[in-house]
Symmetry: C2
Subunit: 231 residues, 2 copies
Amino acid sequence: MEYDINDFKNPLFTVDSVLFTVKDEQLKVLMVKRSNEPFSGRWGLPGGFVDVDRDDTTDMTALRKLKEKTGAKPQYLEQLQVFSGISRDPRGFSVTLVYFALIAEQEVSSRIDTVDEAQWIGINQIESLAVAFDHKLIIKQAQERLQQKTLYSMIPVYCLPEYFTVGQLKSVIETIIGKTIQRKSLIRRIEAADMFETVDEKVKSGGRLAQLYKVKEGVDIVNFERNLSGA
Amino acid sequence: MEYDINDFKNPLFTVDSVLFTVKDEQLKVLMVKRSNEPFSGRWGLPGGFVDVDRDDTTDMTALRKLKEKTGAKPQYLEQLQVFSGISRDPRGFSVTLVYFALIAEQEVSSRIDTVDEAQWIGINQIESLAVAFDHKLIIKQAQERLQQKTLYSMIPVYCLPEYFTVGQLKSVIETIIGKTIQRKSLIRRIEAADMFETVDEKVKSGGRLAQLYKVKEGVDIVNFERNLSGA
DNA sequence: GATTAAAAGTGTCACTGAGACACAATATTA
DNA sequence: TAATATTGTGTCTCAGTGACACTTTTAATC
């Protein structure tokens, strides 16, 4: 019941990424202005074809393409989902593996500012933008996944620089889920997660000096057993 | 920065499924004995190439392949993950989109019994089986996902026939997560989820007659805000 | 028919972690 | 020095799970 490879038209396979960051209290997505067909002139997600000579896995394809656009490696990367279909690409049946990535805005700001091919687009502006393929839908799904994960894990730290304060993390979380959370709840989770350590340094923040935290070496994302509700 | 399709060797793209069921208090996976190279004679996951003339999406590829082996459509189907790499298939760089599916054992028992090409293999026997590709790893990941989802949703109902009792659901859940749960907790969740309705019929079960339940029409899986801990 | 065993189903208290919010501590600024 | 802003703590409430005793309803056995 196995077939010879050549019996079939192999579908078009690409790797795209939804790279999020939080900047100016807004969730942003990295979009690239397309200069080739199809959808030339429209905005699309950064991505492209696997280069089997350079990529050991599709993860590397995603990272390579992101590096081309941002000059940096995202702090978090996971698979979102595969989108496939006969009609999503005019060239024929296509399959896109979409990754979902996070990075601190500071890591890439210089590069992005000088290249006008790639831009951070506010999540709310996506709706009214000329977007290629089904990338609008893909971004929506990625946003939902990010919001969901934010309720039971600490992934939003990957939108922050190495050292960060509770206040910054709180702000990023609130931006992502679009609701306010209790500072106290966040602190409890920071302690319970045991994935952060305090840095012997404090930073000014408009009031009392804030304690700096960093992610411990080699720790994985902790999943909590309850969701935040976000009032 | 876009490339012509023909510049690249398109990687080998296949769709496989990890179809689970619970039978005799054991979690089982549908495995197929391979009759073609590579790995002829070994056991592998049901799957194959996309047929762009018959499949509108990769979901249909997965369903079509499962139907070939079991004669039935799984009650639950979702994407698990893509597995890719230069060395997982001797034919070259390969990409496999793996689905994760559930079905009631009763739906397919007759078919499976008559075909010796496809078999339900107990999850604990996989380790010592001659398995093709990286399918052992894939099954392990699928099992973890199933266990995780079982803690915060009711997906295990899709391992049961249309009408089922609380006792049956409890047993299936316990088999999946490998721990006992409180009957009371399960009943509370059944009520809170609001995705089941009682059937005006009871069934004998060795003691007091048990209330039959069924999944309401058109409802989606409900995700709870807390995990079960399973003592 | 009475007795026992087995599973279904209920009542309720304890425990855990999030929500809410008051309050204390420490910085800046006027 | 006082006002203000933000950090950080103390603690009560609330919701949902865990635990477990207890009741109900059936089949099986005597």
